[in-house]
């Protein structure tokens, strides 16, 4: 039942209208049928009452000679037991007769069904099918007077007519309603799409303002909202840029000044601290800006990308092993993705002093694995390390540097590329970081 209930505006309106129309027409029908029933009752009883009164007036106590449709006299109730009784007619008739000064002892009624093959039609009811209502009135002296009246059958045609009328009204109303709802729902759907895919970037055009004024207002409001969000994010970028600049300048000044420190070891340590602060600053800025990457998605040879990152580490004398793999074409933001791979390798180097990098190509996904034989990470912390600014107290002392932004950044970049990143402890010790990317062409986000 729930599945049948339409969810969208036009469906609900159409259904509601159909139900309301149906209810209205049903009430109409009931009223009409009652009216007809009353009319039939009146039509039947009044002439019958008059005929009986006339017969009594004219004939006095004379036996009435029977003519068709006239009043006849019987000694006993002539209506067969099997006929359907009409107590309502009896009650009505008694009332009318009493108005005429006749108070019968008993009134009986019965319907005589018309024969299948109608030979004759009463001209008054030509074209209608009707049965005969037999009315028998027992006078106070015990004799019965009977008279017949036509008893029209219930007419089904009126039901059909009403149904046809309902359908015509429904269609006539539904068409403009559908037109209106379409006019309403099309811009609304556009609005929903725009809101769903909203990524604050400068080049996103404002949504076309269309539809009735109510909807127009909403669209205008949405455009304003989008503009404000974009402006706010621009402001954030500008602010971060300014913060970055303002922090980097004193750092740079400090870096220049420590050249005058005599102690070689001291100076090296200071330089390292400054470099670390600078790296952290870079990471914070990158992470903050990642929601609005400026780099375009391009088709990249992933193997060459990983190879280039590994090569850069090896140029610096780091112990990184990369197993040559086939060429793999993927849609990525190469500079950002380089950074994700670099952060994973950096992590391995930091905690294990070495890294093994492999690429596994499967039909549905590509995995870039960075493995080491370092101390690993406690199972319960395997997901927590992805949270920005998380650092495992046990293994990550201040000297090892970093405030745990590397993995958060890597994860954000991989998510942007439509992939996932997981950490697991290797059997035999060490950590395995896996970037899994879907092989399907261009990722959803562009």
């Amino acid at each position: 039942m729930k599945a049948l209930f339409p969810r969208n505006l036009s469906g609900q309106l159409a259904l509601l209208l159909a139900l309301a129309l149906f209810a209205a027409q049903a009430i109409n029908l009931a009223l009409l049928l009652r009216e007809r029933a009353n009319f039939r009752l009146a039509q039947t009883t009044r002439p019958a009452a008059i005929r009986i009164a006339d017969a009594l007036d004219h004939a006095g106590n004379r036996p009435i000679r029977g003519e068709r449709s006239r009043v006849r006299r019987h000694e006993a109730n002539p209506i067969p037991l099997g006929f359907e009784r009409m107590p309502k007619v009896g009650a009505e008739l008694r009332e009318q007769l009493s108005e005429l000064g006749i108070s019968p002892r008993q009134i009986d009624t019965g319907i005589r069904l018309r024969e299948r093959s109608p030979r004759r039609h009463d001209h008054r009811f030509a074209g209608r099918t009707s049965d005969t209502l037999m009315i028998a009135v027992q006078l106070p002296n015990g004799t019965w007077l009977t008279t017949n009246a036509p008893w029209p059958r219930r007419d089904n045609r009126i039901l059909w007519a009403l149904l046809a009328q309902t359908i015509i009204i429904y269609v006539l109303i539904l068409l403009p309603v559908l037109w209106i709802t379409r006019r309403l729902s099309r811009p609304l759907r556009g609005l929903a799409d725009a809101a769903r895919t909203f990524t604050p970037r400068k080049e996103i055009p404002a949504l076309a303002v269309e539809g009735p004024t109510d909807v127009r207002d909403v669209i205008v409001a949405f455009n304003g909202l989008a503009q404000r969000v974009t402006a706010m994010l621009d402001e954030k970028d500008r602010m971060l840029g300014a913060i970055g600049h303002d922090l980097r300048t004193p750092l740079a000044a400090l870096r220049v000044r420590i050249e005058s420190v005599e102690d070689e070891q001291d100076r090296a340590r200071m330089a390292e601290t400054i470099a670390e602060m600078s790296r952290t600053l870079d990471d914070i800025l990158s992470l903050a800006r990642l929601g609005r990457p400026s780099e375009r998605i391009t088709e990249v040879d992933l193997t060459a990308l990983v190879d280039a990152v590994v090569e850069d580490f090896r140029d610096l004398g780091a112990e990184v092993v990369f197993e040559e793999a086939e060429r793999i074409r993927l849609h990525l933001r190469p500079t950002l993705f380089r950074r994700a791979v670099r952060n994973l390798i950096e992590n391995a180097l930091k905690y294990a002093g070495h890294a093994e990098v492999t690429i596994v190509a499967e039909p549905t996904q590509i995995r870039v694995c960075v493995a080491d034989r370092g101390p690993g990470i406690p199972e319960e912390a395997l997901t927590a390390v992805f949270d920005p600014f998380t650092r495992l107290e046990v293994s990550r002392s201040r000297e090892t540097g970093g405030i745990g932004l590397g993995l958060a950044l890597a994860q954000a970049i991989v998510h942007d590329a439509g992939g996932t990143i997981t950490l697991s402890n290797r059997s035999g010790g060490g950590l395995m970081a896996i970037i899994a990317l879907p092989t399907s062409e261009a990722p959803a986000r562009g």
Binding site: G241, T249, A252, V256, E259, T298, V300, D301, V310, D312
Partner: protein, 245 residues
Amino acid sequence: MLDGNLMADTPHLLLVDDERSIREPLAQYLTKQGFRVTQVGDAEAARTRLGAYAIDLVVLDIMMPGEDGLSLCRYIRATSETPVILLTARTEETDRIVGLEMGADDYMVKPFSPRELAARIKVVLRRLQAGGTRQHAPDATAYAFAGWILKTGERTLVDHEGVAVPLSTGEFNLLHALVTRPRQVLTRDQLLDLTQGREAAAFDRAIDNQVSRLRKKIEADVKNPQLIKTVWGGGYTLAAEVTRL
């Protein structure tokens, strides 16, 4: 007072940075390293000094209030042969590219080691003295050769199908040196000199190693290289037409 001869032998640097906290200690340090340093705080002052002195090299901060470093760099490049080393507060690639396109000879990201700056100044000056091999013409954003496109900004090669093939820093530097000097024979020493000055990363591995890695990426047949050819007597040359894009 220094006598005239000593003055001529001491390279004269013009240090342009609006940050006094960086400029002053840096000038001090560079002076200690044997340079003659004139320091100014804005582009306006730099222009007058450039006219007044025979400046050997300009160390220029990009981010300055008023006229910025890039615009000054463009001016210097348009009016003289004086080499420029840019100082940038941003690590973004775009700064680097724009800087090199403006014709800067090198760039350093803040915070930088003054030692390394001094070393790079010396490299640029030595190149200049050696003559010819100086990175003089403004860098292009991309070079096309033999069906490949080398994008300088992304440090990436793009093949004929449009697939990006990222390069390591070493590979990029080597290939960049080759494509900017097509059909020139470059000795290992020259290549080492050309590739070292441009990046902070230490670059100890032999040129030969980088060449063989590059060949694997761009040659159709590694055993019979047609693009990066070995020249008998020690050296390499790029045997292809290069178009600046």
